[in-house]
Symmetry: C2
Subunit: 320 residues, 2 copies
């Protein structure tokens, strides 16, 4: 007997990844396409539709219960309109939900991509036993979502959860957003890579090359967090120090958020969710050392479980 | 005809202030007593009951619709139990609501004092036209409450809203709470007074005394925020600079909270709510310069309207 399923669309700046997800949160089939974000919203919607149609050909479409989409940008509170997604051309306010609903006879819901990943972890991942947690996506930038009572806390205008733009030093480095000292400006991909490059450049000439240098074949411009993470995993001290310090700074940012929200659990996803345990310990002990006394013994930092699948699974769960 | 009324109790470390409040949020009668916080919870409850009985003698008690209490400390989510209020002896977890309900035939609700003031401003004060705002009590310490959709956001354990312990510099001054750089450690009464004293001590000997010095009769240990505020009001430059800088730092803290919560309005109460306009402008322009771009043009900082009455009015409105 054919089972109910749910379509989850993970829309990114470069690609659309779409999956057929069952009610247990398992991806049973997948399709992908170029997002073509530079060609305007109509084209992007066509690319999304293409992936959905690919999957429908292989499934019994009568059992599809809806389409959920995780999108960059600001998503309206009615879960339909996407505004100003970065790296998409000619895209101001687009009724993405309505545009897809005209093409498919299923309910459609749209949610911000960081929130979608948070929902996935809440329903099927590291947060399955938690009612409340702060989700952090630590990757190119630092995004987040706030889960309260198993639901996303959207805030009055739909944009809550920007933990990446919590400042840990009002005189700190300039962030892309215009603020100073945002945690993103310390631990986002660009900053981490730049800092690693500087440290390696300062190393005594003639000393043995760091594993990081070997992993990028000597080209320090190719350093990425996953390289630092891989080097750390293999015991490279410089890589370990950089990630430990970054984890500590994230812990400081989380402690402020935890004091404000009275939430005691953090779930950390994104590229860093593959990092060695000591990074998570650094986040946890830093947060614990800085929160208000009543929270202190309850602070827990968990590693996200769903990796890159969180986007598709969380999107599908919007319509479950 | 006798009208319905509501009892509001503002419990502080030194005094109990209780009022009869009508449904329009007007205090129509008041009574006060020493809180006797050092004599244990039974005595404190007796003092509260004394003020209520005083008022009942003067009112038609058949029209009393309930008793609301604003208390320091952590208040349980069922609005009954108060834990560890600072400056109260022998007080761990006390069922304050139940204890009062045994003495009076009315419904009793208890809420944290900062939240109570936030509720008062939301229902009858500066926040009357706002669905969502961050309330800050800037006085001895820096407390707060988060209003979402006209309700207090309590957080999972009842303790949300601690804006005073949002850190604006992870290497900043040590705060009483154990963290570093909490906004309270920059603008709380003790820090502000200390900083003012230091600045005045550094002044060139023989230069004309600052108005602050004159207001405290030369005794710099007597400097309090209301003195600084009074001097600023009368044009004292040193006082103005100190308050402007403090306002700016509060704006930085608020910008992080606003990014996280997607809330765009701040209401500032406590002793500082009597400060000159330029302090509020400093908070607003600092917050606006630091929040994420979509919020920027919407940021507003409002002066709380209810002053010291917020405690009684907000407490009464818990049972309205």
């Amino acid at each position: 007997m054919a089972q109910d399923f749910f379509i989850g669309v993970d829309l990114g700046a470069t690609s659309v990844k779409t999956g057929v997800v069952d009610s247990a949160g398992i991806i049973v089939d997948q399709a992908a396409a170029d997002a073509k974000g530079s060609e305007g919203p109509e084209t992007v919607v066509r690319q999304i539709a293409f992936t959905i149609n690919e999957l429908m050909k292989r499934q019994s479409s009568v059992c599809c219960r809806g389409i959920g989409v995780g999108s960059p940008g600001i998503v309206s509170l009615d879960r339909n309109t996407v505004s100003y997604p970065p790296n998409f051309s000619d895209w101001t306010d687009i009724h993405l939900g309505d545009m897809l609903a005209r093409k498919f006879p299923f309910p459609v819901r749209v949610e911000n991509d960081a929130n979608v990943a948070a929902i996935a972890e809440a329903k099927f991942g590291a947060g399955i036993d938690e009612r409340d947690f702060i989700f952090v996506i630590w990757g190119t930038g630092v995004g987040g979502g706030i889960i309260v009572d198993k639901q996303i806390f959207h805030g009055p205008h739909g944009g809550a959860g920007e933990i990446g733009h919590l400042s840990i030093d009002h005189n700190g480095p300039q962030c892309n957003c215009g603020n100073r000292g945002c945690i993103e400006s310390y631990i986002g991909q660009r900053y981490l890579s730049q800092r690693t490059k500087e440290i390696l450049n300062r190393k005594t000439k003639g000393s043995a090359p760091s594993l990081i240098e070997r992993l990028v074949g000597g080209n320090l411009d190719d350093i990425e967090p996953r390289i630092i993470s891989a080097a750390a995993e293999q015991g490279d001290r410089i890589a370990q120090d950089i990630l430990r310090e970054a984890g500590e700074l994230l812990g400081f940012a989380l402690s402020s958020a935890m004091n404000l929200l009275d939430i005691r659990v953090g779930v950390i996803g994104g590229g860093i969710s593959a990092a060695p345990d000591f990074v998570f310990h650094a986040i946890e002990s830093a947060a614990r050392s800085r929160v208000l006394q009543p929270h202190r013994s309850h602070i827990r930092i968990l590693r996200a479980k769903l990796g890159n699948s969180a986007g598709i699974i969380g999107a599908a769960s919007l319509v479950m």
